[in-house]
């Protein structure tokens, strides 16, 4: 039982990271119906920005977190402007291929500059190296940090989406782009803003994953990116609470498979879940079926 609870804690901290990335996938999908394959790479960039802030510039954890969120936000918006915006009216396949192209570009461009070898992440210092016990369950300060940062960001996101003007615009555009345009909402601005928010979250996730796994490399965005995408699909792509639920679910499953089964199979299980979900309920846990009108 204690071991199980311990795994749950581990699962929740990993799931937090997936949830943060999944949010970006889901928001972008919600608004322009694009699986933004480059999103995983934005998060990789976030990890590297954090790394250089903490090592080369000797900044503390929180300033590094903010800088990396900022850089990723700018990167996300730039990607949208250069690669996706010219394709607003192109076929979905065309945009998806573009996204794959952007992803390759960032991955290998980064690899060109920082070299392919993994780098070990700077360890946290002071208070954050501690751990706490409740009964026999150990919470590391690191896990608490990951979970609490995620929760704060999610609350912030909910606030933005539900309460602010731009959040309302986001919801309007994802419901019906043309109608939103007619209502005087600037669709382009709203889409840019969506990329900005999603990418900033990915930047945060990048730093957190650096802390969690202690190692980063230029292709690190691919696998967690795909898994976060699975999380988004699981919860119902386009639906913000769905991405959060999906993120925690995938995190838990992965930790459980590794803990009780064979850690070699955790990726396979995640993809098997994806395929089952797609076949049984493609619209995901919280999604609604839609049908083409003939």
């Amino acid at each position: 039982m204690e071991q199980f609870l311990q795994q749950v804690i581990n699962g929740i901290s990993l799931g937090s990271i997936y949830a943060l990335i999944a949010l970006g996938y889901t928001m972008v999908y919600g608004i322009i119906k694009l699986i933004n394959f480059a999103h995983g790479d934005v998060y990789m960039i976030g990890a590297y920005v954090g790394y250089f802030c903490m090592t080369s510039f000797k900044l503390g954890f929180f300033p590094s977190l903010l800088i990396s969120m900022l850089v990723c936000a700018i990167l996300g918006v730039t990607i949208e402007k250069i690669a996706y915006k010219p394709l607003r009216n192109a076929t979905r396949i065309a945009v998806l291929i573009t996204a794959i192209g952007v992803s390759l570009f960032i991955e290998y461009g980064t690899m060109f500059f920082v070299k392919p070898d993994p780098r070990s992440y700077p360890p946290l210092t002071g208070l954050m190296t501690r751990s706490f016990r409740i009964g026999n369950i150990v919470f590391s300060a690191q896990q608490i940090l990951i979970i609490s940062i995620t929760v704060v960001l999610m609350v912030l996101l909910q606030f933005i989406v539900k309460k602010t003007r731009i959040g309302k615009a986001m919801r309007a555009v994802s419901l019906d782009r043309d109608a939103a345009q007619l209502m005087g909402i600037s669709v382009d601005k709203t889409i840019s803003f969506t990329f900005l928010i999603g990418s900033a979250l990915a930047g945060a996730a990048g730093i957190l994953v650096g802390i969690y796994y202690n190692s980063i490399n230029p292709l690190m965005g691919m696998m967690p990116g795909l898994k976060a995408f699975v999380a988004a699909v699981f919860g119902g792509i386009g639906i913000i609470p769905g991405a959060m639920i999906g993120g925690y679910f995938i995190g838990l499953v992965e930790v459980m498979v590794a803990g009780y089964g064979n850690s070699m199979f955790r990726d396979a299980v995640v993809f098997a879940i994806l395929i089952i979900i797609l076949i049984v309920k493609p619209s995901g846990l919280l999604g609604k079926e839609t049908r083409e009108k003939v």
Binding site: I93, A94, T98, I279
Partner: protein, 325 residues
């Protein structure tokens, strides 16, 4: 009209024989050395892979991101069989078994997943290929030697086999496309609802295209195993599927000759950039974006190179032959 069809057949045959003989002579005289030949093998494998993925994605409109998975099945099957039976027959048997096995997996995967559309299908096929990779790495490791990979696979591929399988695959795939069944596949890409309403069983044709594509990807994998004599699961990762897709997109979705041209072009670029593999991938990535923005239909669009050219040729030949007959 009949004569025209027959003549194009004969012309194709002549062109093929001439190509074969020329390359064979160049190999015999060592103008095509081992290094160039290995590039040639890569080109041929990529041609088969791209043509078969084009059938699924370009012609039938089913977006697959898991083609490397089928390739790996062909590669491992052929490798395991030729390691046991190290004869030409072992190789041919292994190649056929690999293709058939890939096709069977294609059927099992395709039946449930092809109900999905667009992005969802893409993601499902991606997941499928990842699962296949993990199976080869962690579950079947008694057979595949896990992550370390299989070494010392007997090499049977020479120019004759390579040519036979490449030309054969391309020919069979184009024959399929130029048939009523191929047109049914294309109609699904154009408008699935209309095509069903006109009596096309879309599930059947999607699965047919998927299985056929998987079959030929299996052949490509077997050739790969038999030439490069070393296999490891990580080679068949997501990135490999993307590489194949690059060729299809660059050549033109719905153009087999486009796939052939693009396979050659990209092989030349990557040979040129061999010292800088990252740069090569960066260029591939940029190519995707640039093509989609400025020429989404790729080099050839959905046209075939042969059509107008061959018509010209048959026009000339037809007149000469007409006199003789």
């Amino acid at each position: 009209m009949d004569k025209l069809i027959k003549n194009t057949g004969i012309n194709k045959l002549i062109a093929l024989i001439v190509t074969f003989v020329i390359v064979q002579v160049l190999i015999s005289t060592n103008i095509i050395n081992d290094y160039i030949f290995s590039t040639l093998v890569t080109i041929c494998i990529n041609i088969i892979l791209a043509a078969s993925l084009n059938l699924i994605t370009g012609f039938t409109g089913q977006f697959s991101l898991g083609h490397a998975g089928f390739m790996s099945i062909g590669a491992y099957t052929c490798a395991i069989i030729t390691l046991r039976y190290s004869t030409v027959w072992g190789f041919v048997g292994g190649l056929v078994a690999g293709a058939v096995f890939a096709a069977m997996v294609g059927f099992l995967v395709g039946l449930p997943t092809l109900r999905l559309k667009g992005d969802y299908l893409a993601i499902a096929t991606l997941g499928m290929a990842e699962i296949i990779k993990i199976l080869f790495r962690n579950v079947l490791d008694d057979l595949t030697n896990g992550a370390a990979g299989l070494r010392g696979i007997p090499q049977f591929i020479n120019w004759a086999w390579l040519f036979l399988f490449t030309a054969g695959s391309v020919l069979l795939i184009s024959n399929f496309i130029n048939s009523s069944h191929g047109r049914a596949c294309i109609s699904i890409r154009e408008d699935e609802i209309a095509s069903e309403a006109m009596g096309v069983n879309s599930t059947k044709y999607k699965v047919t295209a998927f299985v056929t594509g998987a079959f030929f990807a299996g052949i490509a994998g077997a050739i790969y195993a038999s030439y490069f004599y070393y296999l490891k699961p990580d080679y068949f990762a997501f990135k490999k599927s993307i590489d194949i897709l690059v060729i299809v997109v660059l050549g033109g979705m719905g153009s087999i000759s486009g796939s052939v041209i693009a396979a050659i072009l990209l092989a030349l670029i990557s040979t040129y950039l061999q010292a800088f593999p990252e740069l090569n991938m960066v260029i591939n990535g940029a190519l995707f974006v640039i093509i989609m923005i400025f020429r989404p239909q790729g080099i050839m669009g959905s046209k075939e190179l042969s059509l107008s050219l061959i018509k010209k040729w048959t026009g000339q030949f037809g007149r000469k032959n007409g006199g003789a007959a």
